[in-house]
Symmetry: C2
Subunit: 347 residues, 2 copies
């Protein structure tokens, strides 16, 4: 009897495996597993020296005017590559305009920021450093700070060997891009795409099936399950003004084209379970609620509670494992290092 | 000829080595090399599980009310265990009252804080979390946050095995203490105390000799080259009001004893070259200037430029190497996790 039951179970497992075989074929036309190596980046050859320098810069709070914020403050690698705040808190305790996107796997996005206004991570890295509500620094001050610390000068020389002027704001950004290119987080979904039937549960597979059948994957596809293509938030039905504030017209600010009002880059969904709150407004804390809002606003679908749970389960299978990051020991300041500016904004 | 020269050099090196042999004997009566293992801590057995939990808590910004600051924000392990600010910036961009001391080797201090008001690191850890100008949180909110994340509940259970109520504010502090006890930074000075003649340069040795002969080591002694004993700042001559602000009476606030006005715990000097700006007021950025102020105010000595340089060289030999710290991946928030409070203070 026990033997028969075992055989029956094995047969069931086999049929369950094969029942999802078609799903994998479909999925492989829509998604792509993460590569097993650090991807090449345009005009920025990635070397170990550049990665190490980029890591130091990413964690260095002295890159901000106040000496308080580093890249990692808002793109915290300990908490999904973001800060778990509605919008980030920056210089002088100002709140930023939009929710901080994750730095994890961001190298695979077609363009950076919610509105895609930066073509790549090097261009992106220059933004927050200078934004008055974020790090409030200037390129000149960053370069002065870097040049004031001999260890940084050496590291830039090694990372940008043969260049006449290695310590530059451009190279600062390129080094950060190189480090960020290593922040790749293979997830159970990748293992499943790569052929491991056991990597996803029945619930997660049902969620994936729904994700594709409902049409979520029309926008959220590719290696980052999103991160490319621009779509109006509220394609079918605009969400409420709290979730979609009237004043933030999204990509319109980039293109000045009426068609781009309230248009945003499709959010990449890897590690989405770690990066609440959701949307550019950061107003929704619950992933299930976010999924329901998406179904209504983008697909015109009122999905069942069960379907929402399945979708959330699938999204959970996009939570990946970060490569081990050794916390850097940063170069020591010198007499020539610019002093932190902790002026109280608005006071 | 070459052979004779080599022999002569060897003889010279030998005589230089032996010239400082008495200095080592004296030094060993005043200082102590760092131990090679993590020290035991009172009432807090240190285990790998507790260290790992403590590391997660140390780096977790969700331990602050705003979700912006972790222990590591002001005691940044990347920059000497402090924040390189005059005084720390905390909740609502408020400036703290005193310069943040380094967390490195702090387990060896007789008591914690500039005024020694906390007996140990566990007691210390409870302070900044609750201080309104720092993390502005409450013990209840911390415990609620921890209980809201199943991974933390598991980790506390493992770190405090057998306890009826492992997730508590007391255990939060004990875990942080356990992690901090591992932050020990062996320096060239330790190698020299342990018998390695080549570990210190002639300049550093001359500085050490001055340090002991002038009397710096009367207060700055022991394993942390300070960190024990309480002394008036301005024992011989009070420094100016910018360096020693009239309003901060130091240990007087702890003991309410007139004798303790402007009394502070002797600063531990390990890694001092990394932790500018100096003094409890954080007003002096240059270590040489700090050394000159100390000589005048504590010893009544106007030291030569050469002596000051030698002392600074010796202090540089106290810069040690931090054990490798892998950046933690923190538990994910849940629906039950308290939301960050980013209220603008004073607005």
């Amino acid at each position: 009897m026990a033997k028969h039951l075992t055989l029956a179970c094995a047969a069931l497992a086999l049929s369950a495996g094969s029942a999802w075989a078609d799903l994998r074929d479909d999925a492989l036309e829509t998604f792509r597993a993460l590569p097993s190596t650090v991807p090449a980046v345009k005009d920025n050859p990635i070397t170990p020296a550049k990665i190490e320098l980029g890591k130091a810069l990413f964690f260095d709070p002295r890159m901000s005017a106040s000496g308080v914020f580093s890249c990692n403050s808002c793109h915290n690698l300990a908490t999904g590559g973001d800060d778990n705040l509605e919008t980030s808190i920056g210089h002088g305790w100002q709140a930023g305009p939009r929710n901080a996107p994750t730095a994890l796997n961001s190298v695979f996005n077609e363009a950076q920021f919610w509105d895609g206004r930066a073509a790549d991570l090097a261009e992106q890295a220059k933004g927050p450093v200078q934004a008055s509500v974020e790090m409030a620094n200037t390129p000149e001050n960053v370069v002065q700070a870097l040049n004031s610390m001999p260890q940084y000068v050496t590291w830039f020389g090694e990372a940008f060997e043969g260049e006449a002027d290695p310590v530059s704001f451009d190279n600062f950004a390129k080094a950060i891009e190189a480090f960020e290119a290593t922040l790749i987080t293979p997830a159970p979904f990748d293992a499943w795409l790569n052929g491991d039937d056991a990597a996803l549960s029945e619930m997660e597979l049902a969620g994936l099936e729904q994700f594709m059948e409902l049409g979520c994957s029309s926008c959220h596809s590719g290696v980052n399950v999103g991160g490319h293509g621009y779509y109006p938030f509220g394609l079918i039905e605009k969400p409420g003004a709290e979730v979609l504030p009237v004043g933030d017209k999204g990509r319109f600010a980039v293109t000045q084209t009426v068609d781009d009002e309230y248009v945003f880059r499709a959010a990449p969904l890897r590690n989405i379970a770690l990066t609440a709150p959701y949307f550019h407004s950061g107003k929704v804390w619950d992933l299930k609620v976010a999924v329901q809002i998406m179904a209504e606003s983008q697909l015109g679908e009122e999905i069942s509670d069960e379907t929402a749970d399945q979708l959330v389960a699938f999204l959970g299978a996009l939570t990946g494992e970060l490569p081990e990051v050794t916390y850097p020991v940063l170069p020591a300041e010198t007499r020539a290092t610019p002093r932190p500016d902790n002026s109280f904004v608005g006071q």
